[in-house]
Amino acid sequence: MTNNANQAMYVAPPEPPASRRPPATEVGILGWLKHNLFSSLSDSIRTIVTISVLGWFLYGFLDWAITKAQWEVVFLNLRTLGVGPEFPADQVWRINLWAYILIFLLAVSVGFWSRIRFWIPGILLAIGAAILIVPLITQPVQEPPIYYYVDADYTIRQVQFVAEAGDELLFRLDPYTESGDFDLERFDGFIANENEYGNTAWDELSDATRQVNRGALDPALFDLNLAIQVWDNNGEVIAESAYTEGSPQTVQLDWEVPEDGWYVVTLVRAEENPGEQGIAFLEVNNLEVFSSTPFARNARLEKFGEPPEPRCTACNIETNRNDLRFVGERSFMQWLSLQVAPYFLEIRKFYFIALVTTLAGFALGWVGKHYLPKKTMSRVVVVLWLLSLPVQFVLIKSGAPFANLDPLNTANFGGIFLTLILAAVSIIVSFPIGVALALGRQSDLPVISILCTGFIEVLRGVPLITLLFMGRFILPFIADGLNDVDMVIRMAIVMTLFTAAYLAEVVRGGLQIVNKGQVEAAKALGLNAVYTTNLIVLPQALRAVIPAIMGQFISIFKDTSLVALVGLYEITGAMKQLLSQTQIGYSALQREGYLYIGIVYFLFCYLLAAASRKLEQSGAGAVRRDTL
């Protein structure tokens, strides 16, 4: 028996004397470090090795991603990656609207059925803030100069560009006269090794390098006589610098653009005393040479008209900036300004509408959870989802004559949109088939059991790509009607059958954990086989396999990438198609492109996996629960 009076009067124990306090190495940050990273000699070795490996990898990766990588293939082509290269541009708003509806409904469901952690809206808002702030703070950052390689044998290219009135451009001709070991490090930024089609600049440069290193060429002996010229669209010279006059002096041309339009910058060699040897670089500042996407190109053409014709037939106008561009070591601010800010500017409209939609959805779900009866609100959410289905169908496929919406052609679908559609269609349509197959496999009628088992095992035993092969080459011949069906639908059929086989195995796992006593009890109550299955077995079995079905969805989501191999433009296929456009120099940007695709897949799959884990912890996988 404790004394009540004593309980009320709590006196904190006195601070222990220093001699009795735990040593500093056992508590606080030091203690954590000791227990988690350096608990023993072998543990310390493990820590150091891990830090070294991680540091080496992260340093290399970030160094490349920030100072060298060209992410323009991503941020200039977001529409292609979103809906595919062949999707009609004036219909993209329908897909956007569809995405907003889905985001809103998901947010309402999440807000109602689960607890919203404070960091979820926090992260969304932080990204929104970054999207606003980064372009603002990086506005004054200049684009790094572009270098063009020049030597006596090299056809001097004419570089076309667009500029607006008032732009101040700076061209410098910089003779390279350092003798000794020719410093290739400086030219890392040239797209060094675009193997298949060759890179003229790099080849010239490596030739020169070899000559310098062999002693055949001494860069110090510079005697070229060069000057910089700017032409307007008609080929008239409108600005010209001084000539180098055979001496390795730097010549520069400051030029303010008189009016909007196309211009050409080039080097000219003097008629008399043109010189015989030497290496120089033309440095172009404050100028975007040419933006490589068809969209950007068309925008240019609309605004500035047709580009100039080359003035001589032998020299071609240079429009491919990746060929000669030297970016060099980009600084972090330049990375933000040139790679991150354009991406943010591209996505900001979509992102902010989506952000508002998400927050509104969360708020609605939260209000419903706290101020409405649970049953009413769950009905509201379900009805909202059901009501949205025809709207979704109208938006993404059928169109509506009364609203002047044309039906969309599935053959034009692409991008992440097609990825989502393929994954969702195959998991939803395959669900009844999978359940039927699972029940059939469990059946005690041997013919049905063998047929179902055969179907499941055959589809599970072969790689998906084999079935896609069938969908591409054989399916059109199976029935006359299938001949006219486009590839997207054929692949959806194949993916559905494939998913059904896997889903059947998942459901079979659920059927096996339903207690036999349940079936016997149902029979004892007089339920026939159909009722027993529908009312007793399936509800328990399906509830038990919800997490496994989520896992299946993730796996199908990843597997949709395979349809890129039969020529569909889902996100991987769209990227593959973009990167195959060698004439705009994308073929050297494979790493950036596929890395971005990988990140997109990772975000989707990781979030789904996290949601699945959450669902599992909340007891969705339990066989029996008292409340919904």
Binding site: S206, R210, V447, T466, F477
Partner: protein, 498 residues
């Protein structure tokens, strides 16, 4: 009589004691025994009917579009070449000389041996009263034997009769060889890496544990196809190309791109390593190594028996490794391996010559990319399987083992692993089957596997149906083979209960 009069009010007539009498038997359309048969017959007819319909329509439509179905297409010539595999012009040219009799004998022997093996497995499983297992062995054995015999026959087919460099069957078998090559190497590598990462996932070290976690999350949540293309393209863009810069022959000329070494050449085409060619004295070395293995085995048995009888620790490795190394060294010296150049092998280095690289062993970049991505992807799944398996062993077992005086590695090998393996092996087998199936993605970077062979042949002849059937049967038997293998290993590790 009163019982019969009660019939009208009885709500459960089938429970009546008189339900078997002819006058009151239930009608046939409610007799479950008849219904069962009817349903099955209907299903069978529906299934066969659908198949027949599809078949008829398929053949007709194909005929209409000018491609008559021809299952003899496998004997036609294969026009294009595969980027790697068996070279029928030099190393494998002997198969061109195989005559009819030899081929028949070899194929028949193969069938006999295969069926005998299958029978043996089936018989042993039946004797252990594992009837389902025995059925699987029987079916799998017959299918695998027949398919492999067909493939072998096509492989040894006399191609002179067709006046072609090689047949489609040979191309497919070459593709199968390439598939198996990359699968086997990836299975080993991904298992090792997966175990390492799996143990890392359970580490007490914060950094190591979370690195392992990030590793598994990254590689299991991105598609293998994207990983594969990324690995291939990253290598392609980073490495020098002998075609565009043919004159690069020395490290000095490469500047910072110093991938050329006398020992190996690494460029966009692949990795070129020195090749070991056995000399005449190789036999001595080989015999010494075999003798070393046998001696090591005998010594190990002796040590274990000693431990059994006296209780002294066996320390098998302390005996086995020096013994084996000793035999190897003696074999090397016997083969004339001093000085080193006169050993049992002569070494052929790769050399850059003009646009090409001659000599040595070539490992193509296609293979390297597929191998790396398969290994990374699968190891992330295997790591999780290993983690779950080890976690399933109750911690008390480990504590008990420690209190018995077992040391760290002993606890792992004698207490934890035997129990964990039971849970690890079945999903591990699934992962191996997945590697087999996923290897078909190599076509995305041009790896010369079975799928590439088939799709090239399909482009040449348009006979998609036979190729599809062939492809499916081959992959099915691969999957079957791996599951049989897993089942057998699994039955070894299973705890036997009565």
């Amino acid at each position: 009589m009163s019982v019969i009069e009660d019939q009208g009010t009885n709500r459960f007539p089938h429970q009546s004691p008189l339900r078997h009498s002819a006058a009151h038997s239930i009608p046939f359309y409610r007799d479950i025994r008849i219904l069962r048969i009817v349903v099955q017959v209907v299903f069978a007819i529906l299934f066969i009917g659908t198949l027949a319909l599809v078949w008829v329509s398929l053949t007709n439509n194909l005929k209409d579009s000018g491609i008559a179905l021809d299952f003899g297409v496998f004997k036609r010539r294969f026009g294009a070449g595969l980027p790697e595999g068996l070279d029928f012009t030099s190393e494998w040219s002997w198969v061109n000389d195989v005559n009819d009799t030899t081929r028949t004998v070899v194929v028949s022997l193969w069938v006999v041996v295969g069926l005998a093996l299958a029978g043996n497995f089936t018989y042993r499983a039946r004797r252990q009263k594992e009837y389902q297992q025995s059925l699987v062995y029987a079916v799998a054995g017959i299918i695998l034997t027949v398919l492999t015999a067909l493939a072998l026959r096509g492989f040894l087919m006399d191609i002179q009769a067709y006046l072609a460099p090689t047949t489609i069957t040979r191309a497919i078998v070459t593709g199968l060889y390439n598939t198996l090559k990359v699968v086997l190497v990836s299975v080993v590598a991904s298992t090792l890496l997966g175990i390492l990462v799996g143990i890392g996932l359970l580490s007490k070290n914060f950094l190591l544990r979370n690195s392992a976690k990030v590793y598994t999350e990254i590689f299991r949540n991105t598609p293998l196809l994207v990983q594969l293309i990324l690995v291939y393209q990253a290598a392609y863009l980073a490495l020098p190309d002998p075609r565009s810069k043919p004159s690069i022959t020395s490290p000095e000329e490469l500047g910072p791109f110093r991938f050329y070494e006398p020992f190996y050449i690494l460029n966009v085409r692949g990795l070129y390593l020195p090749k070991l060619i056995p000399t005449e004295t190789f036999l001595y070395f080989f015999v010494a190594i075999v003798a070393g293995i046998i001696a090591a085995y005998l010594v190990r048995r002796w040590r274990l028996a000693l431990q059994e009888s006296t209780g002294q620790p066996a320390y098998t490795w302390r005996f086995v490794i020096p013994l084996f190394l000793g035999f190897t060294v003696i074999g090397w010296l016997l083969a004339g391996g001093y000085p080193l150049e006169r050993g049992p092998f002569s070494v052929e280095y790769s050399q850059v010559g003009g646009f090409n690289i001659q000599g040595g062993t070539e490992i193509t970049m296609f293979f390297i990319a597929l191998f790396i991505s398969l290994t990374l992807y699968t190891s992330s799944f295997i790591a999780d399987i290993v983690r779950a398996g080890i976690q399933s062993v109750p911690y008390g077992q480990i504590e008990a083992a420690r209190s018995m005086g077992l040391r760290g590695p002993q606890v792992l090998t004698m207490i934890v692993l035997p129990q964990a393996l039971r849970l690890i092996i079945p999903p591990l087998g699934n992962q191996y089957v997945n590697i087999g199936k996923n290897s078909s993605l190599g076509v995305a970077v041009g790896y010369g596997d079975m799928y590439l062979a088939v799709s090239i042949a399909n482009n040449e002849s348009g006979q998609s149906v036979p190729f599809f059937v062939g492809l499916m049967l081959t992959y099915l038997s691969l999957s079957l083979f791996f599951s049989v293998l897993t089942n057998s290993v699994n039955s070894l590790t299973r705890v036997r209960t009565r």
